[in-house]
Symmetry: C2
Subunit: 112 residues, 2 copies
DNA sequence: GCAATACTTCAGTGATCGCTTAAGTATCTG
DNA sequence: CAGATACTTAAGCGATCACTGAAGTATTGC
C-alpha cells in the first residue's frame, strides 16, 4: 500500500518527462491504444511501452488488454494527491514573493 | 531562455524527491539558511546543497548570500506554470467528460 | 591572529533513467 | 494455415541521479 510520499515521488517523476506528459495530454482526450500513443512520438515502440509502465507505476494511467490491443486511460486519484500537495502550499508560493530584501533589511538594518 | 517544457521538466523533477519537497515545505514557512534547511535532513550538508541546486535550476528556489550565510526562499513563477499545466487537463483527470458521455448515453442512448 | 562557522567544490560510486536492438508471444485476417 | 499486427520481454549502453567524504574558501567572534 503506497503512502502519499510514494505517490508524490512517482507522480512528479512520471510527469517530469515531456514524452510522458505528451502521452498524458493525449489520454486526456480519451482512451488510446499503445500504438496510438506511440504514433506521434519519435522513438521505438519499446521505449513508449516503458514510458507507459512509468505512468502506470505512478497510478496516473490504467490499462486493459482486449485481444492483442492494450487500451490506456487516465486515472484521477494520483493527480488529486498532487493537486492537494500544491494547494497546501499555494499561499506560500503566492504570498512570500520577493520578501528576502525585507527580511535582510530587518535583520541587518540595511540591504547589502 | 527556458521554454515552458524545460520549466515543467525541471520543476516536476525537482518535486519528485521527498527531501527536496521537505525543503520546499520548510521554505513555505519563510526563508531559511542552508544549514537550517539541512538540520532536519539525515544526510550530509553537501547533499543538501546539491538538492538546493536542483531546486534553483528549476527556478522554484532563489537564494542570496550575505556574509557567510546563504538565505533561500521560494519563487512562485515555476509553480504557476505547473498549476497551469494541471489546470488545462483537470477536467480529464476528474473524468467529467467520460461520466458526462456515459450519462448522456444512458439517458439518450447515444452521445450527441 | 586564530579558531569556529557556513558553506563550497570536487572526485568518486552505485543505482536508476531513457533509450536501443533483437527476439519473443499472442491475436487477428484472408 | 500463413502472414500481418500488436504488443512483450530481455539485454545492453551511455547519461544522469543521489549520495559520500575530503579538501577547500570566505566570514565572524573572541
Amino acid at each position: 500500500m503506497p503512502t502519499d510520499t510514494d505517490v508524490l515521488d512517482r507522480t512528479f517523476h512520471a510527469l517530469s518527462d515531456s514524452s510522458r506528459r505528451a502521452i498524458v495530454v493525449r489520454l486526456s482526450e480519451g482512451p488510446a491504444s499503445v500504438s496510438e500513443l506511440a504514433a506521434p512520438l519519435e522513438m521505438s515502440l519499446s521505449a513508449v511501452v516503458q514510458h507507459i509502465e512509468v505512468l502506470q507505476k505512478s497510478g496516473i494511467v490504467r490499462s486493459e488488454k482486449v485481444g492483442r490491443v492494450r487500451t490506456c486511460q487516465l486515472e484521477p486519484a494520483p493527480m488529486r494527491v498532487v493537486e492537494q500537495w500544491i494547494a497546501q502550499h499555494r499561499q506560500a508560493w503566492e504570498g512570500r514573493f520577493d520578501r528576502l530584501g525585507e527580511i535582510l533589511k530587518s535583520t541587518y538594518g540595511r540591504t547589502p
